[in-house]
């Protein structure tokens, strides 16, 4: 099929676009639309968060005390740094420097990995303590009767976010492979650009999650 194998080295483009630039703009536009759906999807959880934290402020205050803000802060820093390296990856792709682009993508990927490892440590610690969502809540000594609800919110929000981090890491790895094959150039870097947009959104959502869940005080 004509769209499947387009030679991108000399400003080539899929048959239904007028030019490579037209294709790039359209892809970016499509990515922004998809990000809208992501925002709305998380939006549902944020709405639930605000409803429940308004109804049960003490529960949420108590719940946030069981989270270690240091872990959250480190993760925030890691993700912010990874957004920076992502921007650099796009920059190098635009400069026709596939090697540096690939390196930056790898650093971004490793940052995602660090984030997930820290998340894993947090999760296992809480699961051992019995700080589980809803019905499964088994921690003894909670003051609020429905502390499980706070942890439902916590696991749903961070879980959905974490699954996005994993998907983002997969996409970054895919770009990394393509950069290693020298596929990007100043006329064609659409995948890095669009994955970058996605990664910034994932980062941005965490920047909201961190204070909402860890820093209620």
């Amino acid at each position: 099929m004509s769209t499947a194998n387009v030679d991108r080295s000399g400003g080539g483009h899929a048959h239904h676009f007028e030019s490579a630039e037209h294709e790039f703009d359209t892809s970016k536009f499509g990515t922004w639309l998809f990000l809208c759906t992501e925002v709305l999807m998380f939006g549902g959880l944020f709405v639930a968060y605000f409803i429940f934290s308004n109804l049960f402020p003490e529960t949420f205050l108590e719940g946030s005390k069981y989270l270690d803000w240091k872990f959250g802060a480190v993760n925030t820093a890691v993700l912010l740094f990874s957004s920076f390296t992502m921007v650099l990856a796009i920059y190098y792709a635009q400069q026709n420097n596939n090697k540096k682009c690939a390196n930056m993508l790898m650093i971004t990927f490793v940052c995602g990995l660090i984030f997930m490892v820290i998340k894993y440590m947090e999760y296992t610690h809480k699961i051992e303590m019995g700080l589980l969502p809803g019905d499964m809540f088994a921690f003894q000594g909670a003051e609020s009767s429905n502390l499980g609800l706070y942890f439902s919110v916590y696991y749903m929000m961070t879980g959905l976010h974490g699954s996005h981090v994993i998907v983002g890491m997969g996409l970054i790895l895919w770009c990394w492979f393509r950069a290693r094959k020298n596929e990007f150039n100043s006329g064609y870097f659409t995948p890095v650009e669009c994955v970058g947009l996605f990664w910034h959104l994932v980062d941005l959502i965490w920047i909201y999650l961190f204070p909402l869940l860890y820093l209620i005080d």
């Binding site: 769209t3 639309l33 549902g44 609800l149």
Partner: protein
């Protein structure tokens, strides 16, 4: 580009073999694949409807309540998620949108194929649930019933979640296509009104569907882990689910009807051979309906226990949606004034649409009126109302659209007589089935009842007899389509004398849609 004059090659014989279809990224072929799947799902959903009417033919039981409830659930879920939502955008829209715009394809052809696979995977997951005790929640999955019932529901919920991706990806694709791929000379106001309908729909799909996605995920998590969002024991709220659910599902109603309205604009102009009356009013009312539709979800919940103030606001905003809808109807009728009207089967479906949609519309206003809705809510009046809008509206438009674009899709004509016969059967059968349900509802018969008091039996029998007539009508329609495919006469490029771009290319169109890049110089309905 293919060579300019070779008309023996078209998108159907461009490549051969099943594999070339399953891996195609051609919007026309994907449209045809959607056609086959949607019609298949429609047959399954229709069979469930027949079983429902069989049970309700007379008081007393043919099936057990539990079995009936599964029929009712699967009828609803299949018809909503697998037929009516993908029916127009993904099937007719896919085929027609790039042709209407003078484009060679949609913006993201591979994503387009992926969205078809999402629908298939989601549908398979949903159907698997039938083997695990099925689901008996109704298509609305209201909590806490859905949390407490059998776990087969989880599969149906996850199936609907996956199908949501299909809808989102189609939406993203269509918005981008409309913005970026219009041919030379086609500004927004030179676009056919079907494109406006699809465009408004696509915006709704992009914005509303993810909220359904998260709602269904929460419901699944609630069933698997008991997260308590909708469970009063943990301080959650079962009514919160309804808010979440209708925040998507009300705009979804417009996902179903807006593109149908677009098709009607095409049909009325083509068969009246007349410029559309009030192009901009119709175009903007599509966008207006889409915008307001996000703020009316609470009209499903006047008696649910939501606050009184919320009820008042939602009732008011719902009335506002009525205005652009009324404008469209008047404009269509006005378009016929001093036209040259031909009663081909697509036009019959368009007229049928106007007839039934008007009744659906005025009963919608009744339901938006708070005190009236207190009486009608969750009775057969509501069932009749939304069937008049969804079947009488959307399905009529789908049928009209199939007959209208059939010559373009397959390069063949169907039997006009057969198509008209199927229309008469469907139209009459529809009214016989659903009009009595208004009366049943007003008399107080609740919906989702497996059995009913003797007093309701006569009208229910009438309704069941009507359903068989509809069934017969669709069988005739299917025969007409298959007969047309196999034995139909060769179709001319423009059998209806219509002015939009798809009729300016060959029937069926070539792989790249047009032999020379089209250039638009005027509006889409310049009949003079």
């Amino acid at each position: 580009m293919s060579s300019a004059a070779d008309t023996s090659k078209n998108y159907l014989n461009h490549e051969k073999g099943l594999w070339s279809w399953l891996t195609t990224v051609d919007h026309k072929r994907i449209g045809i694949m959607y056609m086959i799947t949607v019609l298949l799902f429609f047959a399954i959903g229709g069979a469930f409807a027949m079983l429902i009417r069989l049970e309700l033919f007379a008081p007393g039981g043919t099936f057990e309540a539990q079995v009936y409830n599964q029929f009712m659930t699967f009828h609803g879920a299949i018809m909503v998620f697998m037929v009516i939502i993908p029916g127009i955008p993904a099937f007719l829209g896919n085929f027609v949108l790039p042709l209407h715009l003078g484009a060679k394809d949609v913006a993201f052809p591979k994503v387009n194929l992926m969205s078809w696979y999402c629908l298939i995977v989601g549908a398979i997951i949903s159907f698997i649930s039938l083997f695990y005790h099925g689901a008996d929640t109704g298509w609305t999955f209201y909590t806490p019933y859905s949390i407490q019932t059998d776990n087969g529901t989880i599969l149906l919920v996850l199936g609907a979640f996956v199908m949501g991706f299909s809808s989102i990806l189609t939406g993203v694709n269509f918005v981008a296509t409309t913005h970026r791929l219009r041919c030379k000379g086609m500004g927004f106001f030179q676009m056919p009104l079907f494109v406006w309908g699809l465009y408004s729909t696509a915006i709704l799909q992009v914005i509303a569907t993810p909220v359904l996605g998260i709602t269904l995920l929460l419901l699944a998590a609630e069933k698997i882990m008991g997260i308590g969002f909708f469970d009063p024991k943990l301080g959650g709220d079962p009514v919160l689910f309804q808010h979440f659910f209708w925040f998507y599902s009300h705009p979804a109603v417009y996902i179903m009807i807006l593109p149908a309205m677009g098709i009607i604009s095409e049909l009325i102009t083509a068969f009246s051979r007349k410029v559309i009356f009030g192009y901009k009013a119709i175009a903007f009312s599509s966008v207006g309906i889409a915008a307001v539709s996000f703020f009316v979800w609470g009209h499903h919940m006047f008696v649910s226990g939501q606050s009184e103030l919320a009820g008042v606001i939602f009732s008011f905003l719902t009335m506002l949606v009525g205005v652009p809808t009324a404008i469209k109807t008047f404009n269509w009728v006005a378009t016929m004034y001093k036209g040259s009207i031909q009663f081909q089967s697509p036009m019959l479906y368009a007229l049928g649409f106007l007839f039934l949609f008007t009744i659906g519309g005025v009963t919608g206003i009744m339901l938006a009126t708070m005190a009236m809705d207190v009486h009608f809510h969750d009775t057969y009046f509501v069932v009749a109302h939304f069937h008049y809008v969804m079947v009488g509206g959307t399905l009529m438009a789908i049928m009209g659209g199939i007959y209208y674009w059939f010559p373009k899709m397959f390069g063949k004509m169907y039997s006009e007589l057969g198509a008209q016969l199927s229309f008469v059967l469907i139209f009459v059968g529809f009214n016989v089935t659903f009009f009595p349900q208004f009366i049943l509802g007003a008399k107080g018969m609740p919906r989702r009842y497996h059995d009913y008091p003797e007093a309701f039996s006569f009208l229910n029998s009438v309704s069941s007899i009507g359903s068989w007539t509809i069934g017969l009508g669709f069988i005739v329609a299917l025969i007409v389509i298959i007969h047309g495919l196999l034995k139909g006469a060769k179709a001319p490029d423009n059998p209806w004398g219509a002015k939009t771009l798809e009729w300016q290319t060959t029937s069926p169109p070539p792989h790249e849609n047009f032999y020379t890049d089209p250039v638009v110089t005027g509006g889409p309905y310049e009949y003079r």
